[in-house]
């Protein structure tokens, strides 16, 4: 439905469930995709599955110097970065009273600071092209909070504030910056939950089911498309009605 032929996309965290679905979806819409992540094997497997127009660009987002190099590597591989999807995220859950500065810093670095460095790195090309899309994957807990996840929730809320500010600055250049905030999505992580945990979660979701990674990918394809050019600074909540924001 939405055509991204000729566009080059960089997706972080493409080795994970949601990131891989986003990369698949954007590739299916015709884009060239740069697959970034820390684990090379799943990235190679995904690239092999996609065939052409897929480039493996491993990067450790904990390492700011490596993060700053990633946009350059993506441009070398694909010629440009028209769409950046900051999807990578980690958790270091702990009760706030027990949370160490290290647990705080590592989550902030990967989830928030790397998104800042990457956005800055792709901005010059987007400004020159007078076209660009940045989609930051936030989370429902950035809006609602969650016990044990003060660091994660702060990083995800931080993405929303950063996106809105950047959206203001670059809107006149044809660049949009938006967030997608997933609720409970079926991934390898949620597969590990036991039946009781799943039942408890689903009790909070009016839709009565978990979301699928493809449903997150669909929203990213839309926000990346030319048709979404007038949407900027917004957060699209995809949570089956769990929080109606």
């Amino acid at each position: 439905m939405f055509d991204l032929s000729g566009k080059s996309v960089l997706v972080t965290g493409a080795s994970g469930g949601i990131g891989a679905a986003i990369a698949r979806g954007l590739h299916g819409a015709g884009a060239s995709v740069g697959l970034s992540g820390t684990r090379v094997e799943p990235l190679e497997a995904l690239a092999a599955e996609l065939g052409g127009r897929a480039h493996v660009l491993p990067c450790n987002l904990s390492d700011s110097a490596a993060v700053a190099e990633l946009p350059k590597q993506a441009v070398e591989a694909m010629g440009a970065v028209d769409v950046l999807v900051n999807n990578a995220g980690i958790t270091r859950d702990n009760l706030f009273m027990r949370m160490s500065e290290d647990e705080w810093d590592s989550v902030m670095q990967v989830n928030l600071k790397s998104a800042m460095i990457l956005s800055k790195g792709v901005m010059r090309g987007m400004m020159k092209a007078r076209w660009g899309r940045i989609v930051n994957i936030s989370s429902i807990v950035g809006a609602t909070g969650n016990p044990g996840q003060a660091n994660y929730a702060a990083s995800k809320a931080g993405l929303v504030g950063m996106s809105k500010s950047l959206a203001y600055e670059v809107a006149s250049r044809g660049i949009t910056v938006n967030c997608v905030a997933p609720g409970f999505i079926t991934t390898a992580m949620t597969e590990k939950l036991n039946e009781d945990q799943k039942t408890a979660i689903l009790g909070q979701v009016p839709a009565g089911r978990m979301g699928e990674a493809d449903e997150i990918a669909a929203s990213v394809i839309f926000l990346a498309s030319p048709e979404a050019g007038y949407i900027t600074g917004t957060t699209l909540h995809i949570n089956g009605g769990m929080a109606m924001l």
Binding site: R124, M127, K128, E169, V170, S172, R173
Partner: protein, 77 residues
Amino acid sequence: MSDIAERTRKIVVEHLGVEEDKVAENASFIDDLGADSLDTVELVMAFEEEFGIEIPDDAAETIQTFGDAVKFIKDAA
């Protein structure tokens, strides 16, 4: 007028859409030529490309006028 000044003026005229004779030595990009802060970032990017130089952020902040830009580029090129 040196070649560098002419090339710099051409970039300013093209980017900001102003008359060539408005781009005087002491013309401020923001106060006199109607640039917003993002325009000044883009001008610096354009200067970097045209002259194959690197203009660090702290130096970019000191480039307020057309004359500042020409002087910086002459020193750097």
